[in-house]
Symmetry: C2
């Protein structure tokens, strides 16, 4: 195992709330925090299709508390945020396409509920440190590459707009009410415990599933769109670093990958690593084309400089571990009926 | 009367919906549009304290239609947007302080209702042209001056965040659904028909009222904060220009004033023009200090270059007309009990 970025070993005995804690990133954070001796409270609503999966924490279920609740439940959140030292605020609607088909639900979860969580902290736990999960989607189609935090935000879908507002509520409450808050703008994260059963939460999971099911991968367009990637363990590092350093209160950080690549090259690498699979390029479906952002890769110099974060897991290693995980655990993530 | 910026005389016989049409900017737009022969439909909810005032359109009430409705009423908006050629979308919660005290109402009006209006257009009137009223508050505390449209948005209050999201819904629906939409980011607008009776919608109205009531003006801080100003007729010009030019669909424009000045100098000029009044500087109230943005003035080169818009009304002339208006019509805007 490669050495992870050093972060302050401050989580032992600390109370940590993870919203969306049964999801992909939340559950991986929970595993790491449990290992560090934190007292972890997961809040997750298990909304079908949103990523929450009890199997994600099956092996540590006796070492943490799971509270099934929706972050839109203002009264519940008022209680649940109390006495927490840290909140990793990961609950959200993350599908770009769903946000276009049902903008109101996206608004309720990604804006209104974020205000509720922050109001709950303001009134019941103003000393908490909260880290918000932002997204590269806030930038929209890049004006330049790599995209740094000074890049204008001009999102191309409702989800990107609402995530932008949700992030700014956090920064505002940091600046005005002294709740300590930071945001981490994620790019494509991949690895164990991701939602795999449908196609509406990103292409990585779709490609992995298609390869393991022996289905032909369909790449939209010519496959030359460039993306960057982070292995989940590196993303967990970043969240733990940001929560632990008070110097970054009120700041926003990009993540970014060291090996941006064209989708077609990603697929070829995946097929090579998995030892199976085939692909074809097909025309963009029009609904997806309208909100596609072209090439994207992020500049992560700020988090590197301020906190020494780095990508520790190369694509080859990360993808190898990912395929191993889903080969062993496929039945907990999708069935042939999905 | 100075010559206004030329704009296409396209409004004769056209159906024009103004949300917030009984308010300050909306009612001034209505007066101009009626003069141009447009068929004006005003939608306004007359929420107490929000700026809607039937007196604003008293003199033209038989030349337009007034429909009292709340833009949060999705079913009502579905009907009201039909067959309109243009929508000037001015309805909103505009108080920065109110947005901090009640962020949910600000969210419902400035985000959710904006989505409703756009969804209504998408389904019932996709060919409409809609102009959104953005605000300098979206930029927050400036990184540089003058602030152009490329300036990062980092709002300092809930209102600024929600206005930012509301604007981006419009641009998104332009880009994805071909509803034609533009945004005009306003700075401090002043003139006849403004809400005057309370202090929560900007300092211009407060200063004017205090001078006419013979009360001492209280300037927060040392009065050296710089602001820029637009007389209402110039703002009406800008809205009519933007709606009329299809080349600006999907674009965002700043307004800005030609005579940025320190608040203390503004107050001195007002006192000189009104021929009465006095002032003092007092410490910032803490709630206001936290969301104050320091100096601000906007760069309006884009709207000037693209559409030939210019400030036609100097501060001295604009303030003179403003004081005349409120001297004559004071009883319709505030009472000594306010």
């Amino acid at each position: 195992m490669p050495k992870r970025a050093a972060f302050p070993d401050i989580y032992g005995g600390k109370k940590v709330l993870i919203t969306g804690g049964l999801g992909f990133i939340g559950s991986n954070l929970a595993h790491r925090l449990v290992k560090h001796g934190a007292e972890v409270l997961i809040v997750d609503s298990l909304i079908p299709d949103y990523g929450g999966n009890l199997f994600n924490v099956e092996s540590i279920k006796n070492q943490l508390t799971i509270n099934i609740a929706d972050i839109r439940d203002q009264h519940g959140m008022n209680y649940l945020v109390r006495n927490q030292d840290y909140i990793f605020n990961l609950a959200g609607q993350v599908s770009h396409i769903d946000s276009m088909n049902d903008p109101y639900t996206d608004l309720d979860i990604n804006c209104r509920a974020q205000l509720s969580i922050l109001e709950a902290c303001r009134h019941n736990n103003p000393g908490v440190k909260i880290v918000y999960a932002g997204t590269r989607q806030q930038y929209g189609k890049p004006d330049y590459l790599p995209v740094d935090e000074k890049h204008l935000q001009h999102p191309t879908d409702v989800n990107g707009i609402n995530k932008m507002a949700g992030e700014w509520y956090h920064i505002l409450y940091n600046n005005v009410y002294n709740i300590r808050a930071s945001s981490l703008r994620l790019t494509n994260t991949y690895g164990p415990r991701q939602l795999m059963k449908h196609d509406r939460q990103g292409f990585m999971s779709v490609f992995i599933r298609q390869i393991l099911d022996g289905e032909k991968i369909r790449i939209f367009g010519d496959g030359k769109q460039i993306r960057d990637f982070n292995y989940i363990d590196d993303v967990v590092d970043a969240f733990l670093l940001i929560a632990g350093y008070s110097d970054c209160d009120g700041l926003i950080f990009n993540l970014g990958g060291d090996e941006p690549m064209r989708l077609i090259d990603l697929v070829k690498l995946m097929i090579e690593i998995a030892g199976q699979g085939e692909f074809e390029c097909i025309p963009f479906p029009s609904a997806k084309k309208k909100i596609d952002i072209g090439d994207y890769y992020g500049d992560y110099q700020l988090i590197k400089t301020v906190m020494g974060w780095a990508c520790r897991t190369g694509m080859r290693e990360g993808l190898t571990r990912t395929f191993e995980y889903y080969k062993q655990n496929k039945e907990h993530y999708w069935t042939n009926a999905d």
